[in-house]
Symmetry: C2
Subunit: 124 residues, 2 copies
Amino acid sequence: MAHRTRQRKAVQEVFDSADGPLLPEEILELAQPRCPTLGAATVYRTLRLLRERGAIREVVMPDQRVRFENVGPHHCHFHCRVCDRVFDVPGCRTVGSPRESRIPGGFRVEGRKVLLRGVCAVCR
Amino acid sequence: MAHRTRQRKAVQEVFDSADGPLLPEEILELAQPRCPTLGAATVYRTLRLLRERGAIREVVMPDQRVRFENVGPHHCHFHCRVCDRVFDVPGCRTVGSPRESRIPGGFRVEGRKVLLRGVCAVCR
DNA sequence: AAGGTATTGATAATAGGTTCTCATTATCAT
DNA sequence: ATGATAATGAGAACCTATTATCAATACCTT
């Protein structure tokens, strides 16, 4: 039986108010004000639990670090090279030629990802 | 002084005939027919050397593994979920709205990456 | 060809991130 | 409230990828 612990509520609240995918370390820092005793192991356990439930998913950016976000509508991600944070870009679409016929050689395309890099509004 | 060793030539030849970014492990396997004594440490050393020279660059895919490719014109990457290999997709463009004004909130976009996922021609 | 030096290969060591362990604590059903 | 049990926190352990070590070897200049 899954308990509604303060730790799990805190992690969920962090996800619900996030503006982009978060590192485990960021989740820990953001959740600690709501749950001061929270430890890293519990963050990792909660991430696994939420991922198994299909509530969150992994996002891997070119910095090779794994971030997590609530499962939701597709969107692009923006990685700020200054503060190293990742933001959702909800309005971002990969428009143009989404037809798979564009891909030569018989590749079957099942999904796509668009990653932007630059400087975020805060760091400019 | 940099020596033209058989090991380095073999690694360079592997890059030159690759059809996509390669894992260090893949480089080792592909280069060993040309240089049977080649070891993993030398592959890593050569990768660092080539990267410092600006000859190759890292490519990170959602499987969290670092691959390397020759520096060249921009292109998309296709990751086969069956064989786990990554292929270049030279004809792939992120067309549509490359204008940075499209990004809300004052983000300055300096680069973009498009990753495709699916099944490659061989695995279909 | 020979010597100086860069490079190699095998292995140990490292590093970072994640998971495990286990005694303690919190949650939930009663 | 109470008891059964799930969850927690601290740290150890683990895992994988990469780097360092060092004696042996290969390369390049002479």
